[in-house]
């Protein structure tokens, strides 16, 4: 299965995502530059990586969300292409309007960089099918702006439609209703602040993130 990873100026988790995808699919993903206006043909998944795209200028993810490649991703996502955004990638997807809400400065104002407990809130999504509902996994976070915000009506809708994929199992950043990862209405776009690509094999100190990639690749028939 062919996949792609987007690279913005300031991305720093693009290679981690590429290694995770290659480990699980056996094929190195195509790295796509932010200035490109098209995605490669025949890909089954595009991943938007963590980092500090455009130096987090204006707002985290704001400038990257207006780059040429994002126009192509918004269009393809509308046709059902699976999109995974991690950390800064999640911020980019909210800024691009693919996911609801916004990611604000952490409530404690500190940059949080550690392994955290995550609860799988919905195990029946394209990305979480290899987890059990309610299962607790441990995955690292590394962010300053991970405080998920949306109005109460939006939060109710997300919860009612099963669009909260992951919740924090401990106090991390002040996110509304402990939301760590959300899906779009169609279920083909997932954004999450924690880094599953940093927990792929035992040498990483755990492999709880690996099943996310295995799950989505199984869903798309890789």
């Amino acid at each position: 299965m062919k996949t792609a990873v987007v690279v913005f100026p300031g991305s720093n988790c693009d290679r981690d995502l590429a290694v995770a995808l290659e480990t699980v699919t056996g094929v190195a993903p195509t790295m796509v530059w932010h200035g490109d206006s098209d995605l490669p043909d025949g890909i089954g998944l595009v991943a938007v990586p963590g980092g500090f795209s455009y130096g987090d200028y204006l707002r985290s993810g704001a400038i990257a969300a207006r780059s040429p490649i994002m126009r192509a991703i918004v269009e393809q996502a509308g046709r059902g292409l699976p999109v995974l955004g991690v950390c800064n990638g999640f911020q980019v997807l909210t800024e691009a309007g693919l996911l609801p809400g916004a990611l604000m400065r952490n409530a404690g104002l500190d940059f949080v960089c550690r392994d955290v407990a995550l609860t799988v809130a919905n195990a029946q999504t394209a990305f979480t099918s290899r987890y059990d509902a309610g299962e607790t996994i441990r995955v690292p976070v590394a962010h300053h702006d991970g405080n998920y915000f949306a109005d109460a009506e939006t939060l109710d809708r997300l919860e009612g439609e099963g669009r909260v994929a992951f919740r924090y199992g401990e106090s991390v950043n002040g996110s509304a209703r402990d939301i760590a990862g959300v899906l779009n209405a169609a279920g083909n776009v997932l954004g999450m602040m924690p880094h599953p690509e940093r927990k792929i094999e035992a040498a990483h100190g755990g492999s709880d993130g690996r099943r996310l990639f295995e799950g989505v690749l199984e869903t798309i028939g890789a």
Partner: protein, 76 residues
């Protein structure tokens, strides 16, 4: 034409930075500060013919994230 565009958090949106600034003002001994909200201000030099719709578009599409922020335009 010069524009000043003020982008501020919507009421009800938690502002941890404003809260920290508020706390620091208190630490400096300034009593009676009841609340602090942090925001951004942009100065734009635009062609005189720039219409309101274009200015509004700049605010909505880039300068403000209307999920969490309001904006106000001042012509200088």
């Amino acid at each position: 034409m010069k524009l000043r565009i003020f982008v501020t958090l919507k009421p009800g949106v938690l502002d941890p930075q404003g809260r920290a600034i508020h706390h620091a003002l208190g630490s400096l001994g300034f009593a009676g500060v009841e609340d602090v909200r942090a925001g951004k201000m942009f100065e734009l030099e635009v062609a005189d013919a720039t219409d309101d719709a274009a200015i509004d578009g700049m605010c909505r599409q880039l300068l403000a994230n209307t999920v969490i922020e309001n904006y106000r335009v001042e012509r200088v």
